[in-house]
Assembly symmetry: C2
Homo-oligomer: 435 residues x 2
């Protein structure tokens, strides 16, 4: 198969992100799949001025995509549970594979949809339905498939986490932060789904089914929102060594499965307690691995599109390869591996921590600073300690800005050549690890 | 296909863990695959007294497994790069799928092994080769397959991270902690592979190939260990707002790919800076998702076995199903979904944070404590604030031990009925989220 044909239904935030990612990363994706993924048709009630769809045909009737015999995969991104359900069932009936980001649709009608898909022998993929760009569905369904899952706990609503993070970091009130979240576009005009936990409950139901092998049971989730959390609760929790997070928790017990969404105090030293802002994270406790955690953007145009496209690639790899080589060994097809060189360390740019031992007399720092400055390296921070009694040597610690390793090495050689510097300069690279 | 037959070569730490996980979780695994996974034969030079292999035939010659026509999947867990390479190539030549945990083998001979496997149309799976139980290979190869990966940075050697964590948390010296790590079995008698970064370099090479679509090039990695890190560097880094971690970093630039393993200062507020002890984590920056992080146990018998078994399940799902239904929609086969009930919230056990407003007079706390005690609930912590001037109301915060929600609700009703308590009691559940 040379190309796999995709029809995108819905051209809102996630639809336009999906189109953009498929277009921008087309070369990488082809090299990973061994076939091109082509958006053959779009179904959307209206154009999206933010999305340049080029010469792809846009049909005002989304059902036309489900009827188009050219389409291999229908991508449902219209949202809601009525038209979306009808559309997905129609696509399945017509033998198309379906990829959807619709958590409400899967949580509330998944059992029926999967039964129809099984009958037709098609895939329904929904990685984007939970925690956006984090591949948590794949982790539970495949990565941890050898484990008995004991429990999982997730920050699976970014709006709620943003509100609680702001309340803690800036001492603000719930209502105040909610208003800002709405202005920033994190929260809907009607914030009920987010702050009352319904969105999280949809996602939790899906995670629990994958983890425990139970049918989807949205009506059984206990759901409590964050609207009652007062500023003082956040403060008292902190005094006690805890953070308040809005968690979805699923736990297997011998009596049954706990399924609950509610604000939760968790010890501040836990990694998940330090997941802030709109980010999502899911902590999974399983019998062989122990704890594992998956963190990333849980919403937004391209993070969600990433999960949609991953599902499309999964289906396309199955359609275009033999079973044994569905996923290329090194992710990209062997014949597509790149000759892009590995850089020598001298060409790498990074910042540096330098520690040296200096003779405690005037002018040493200025000599060191001059060498760095001549090398085009500036000083970001400096620690200079007092000499201990009877000692005439002092430690001097310098944090530099980013520079090429070759330049830094040259400067360090010069510094080590100074009479007033004793022994070698310790260097440790510094990375901000920011996006 | 009713069953998929596996041969395990090597019965050391990971081999015995793999056998144990396949045996203990056989029912879940069958329900996820739709076929039984049967260990048909073991190849091991000697028995492992810690592993009860029951009536599974053990052959002293591992090559017998590669020759056994009954075996579908050969699991290579003998380690090293000489016999292991010969064994894997023999299995491939005989048309068997291969699962391996051998990072050195893949990093140094992967290109040759994959070429042989592609010719035979078989899978070579190696999730366990990097970061143990964390499904990072799957995340890069499938979950993030729609993304252009910009860079990744990983704590991918647990021994090194344990040493640096202890140096920071307890102010200990490198040599002192290394000696303890060796006693605890975290570090080998010859710790070179761990502390000088060779083990991390093996893993980084594999991650970089998956991320950037380049062939495996182990000889190109810049590698620097942690043996030169002094206690004072850890302290100074902390003064500057940083933590020192031993990272493997791969970054794509227009000139080439950076591939480097070295100690690194990173800002202490980064999530990955807070990954401590023997745990591993990989932070991936990609164009659609932005940052995402994968955290868990990077070594050990069962965490590594989890990844081995996940790979076995991947192959078994391909062998036993049609392409379209390779992975069940909800992870477990629909006909195997469980009727295990979802518990009502009243039956859930958790700890509680209670906040109430009390009249500032003697005896209120004792009444509240009595009610809790009568309900079998004990107090773990208490905050009682002084009344503000002119106020006769004080906030009272109680942290309880774990109890059933129904009991807590009954006690809260009684507390709310006290004359000396004003208004409702705020309750927020507390979870330790410990294993």
């Amino acid at each position: 198969m040379d190309s796999v044909k995709v029809g995108i239904c819905g051209l809102g935030t996630v639809g336009s992100g999906t189109f953009a990612v498929l277009k921008r990363n087309a070369a990488e994706i082809s090299a990973r799949v061994g076939a091109d993924i082509v958006v053959a048709q779009i179904g959307a009630r209206r154009d999206n001025p933010k999305c340049d769809t080029g010469d792809v045909a846009i049909n005002r009737d989304v059902f036309a995509i489900a009827e188009n015999p050219e389409i291999d995969i229908l991508v449902e991104l219209i949202g809601g549970t009525t038209v979306a359900k009808e559309l997905v069932l129609k696509a399945i009936a017509n033998g198309k594979h379906v990829v959807t980001a619709n958590k409400a649709l899967i949580a509330e009608h998944g059992n029926e949809i999967f039964a129809a898909a099984a009958e037709q022998g098609v895939t329904v993929a929904f990685e984007a339905a939970v925690a956006g760009g984090i591949p948590i569905i794949k982790a539970l369904r495949e990565g941890l498939a050898g484990n008995k899952i004991q429990w999982l706990a997730g920050i699976i609503n970014g709006t709620g986490n943003f509100i609680l993070s702001e309340m803690r970091e800036k001492g603000r009130d719930f209502a105040d932060v909610l208003a800002e979240a709405q202005e920033l576009g994190y929260a809907e005009a009607d914030p009920t789904f987010d702050v009352e936990g319904i969105d999280a409950a949809h996602k939790l139901v899906i995670l629990a089914s994958l983890a425990f092998g139970i049918p989807l049971q949205f009506d059984k989730v206990f759901t409590e929102g964050i609207s009652k959390i007062a500023q003082e609760d956040v403060t008292y929790a902190e005094e006690l060594g805890y953070r308040i997070k809005h968690l979805g928790i699923a736990r297997g017990t011998s009596e049954g499965i706990e399924l609950r969404v509610h604000p939760t105090l968790i010890p501040e030293k836990r990694l998940i307690a330090n997941v802030n802002g709109v980010m999502n994270a899911v902590l999974v406790q399983s019998d062989a691995v122990g704890p594992s955690l998956y963190y990333g953007a849980g919403a937004g145009s391209e993070p969600t599109a990433s999960a949609v496209v991953a599902d499309v690639i999964d289906v396309a790899r199955s359609l275009s390869s033999s079973q044994s080589s569905r996923v290329p060994y090194l992710s990209f097809k062997t014949e597509s591996l790149s000759a892009h060189p590995v850089l020598p360390i001298d060409a790498v740019e990074t910042a540096y921590y330098l520690r040296m031992t200096a003779v405690d007399k005037p002018g040493v720092l200025s000599k060191v600073a001059q060498i760095l400055s001549d090398g085009g390296i500036s000083i970001e921070a400096l620690i200079q300690k007092e000499a201990a009694d009877n000692a005439n040597l002092v430690p001097m610690i310098i944090l530099t800005n980013r520079t090429i390793e070759a330049k830094l090495s040259a400067a360090v050689s010069q510094i080590e050549g100074l009479e007033s510097i004793v022994g070698e300069v310790t260097r440790i690279r510094v990375e901000s690890l920011a996006g």
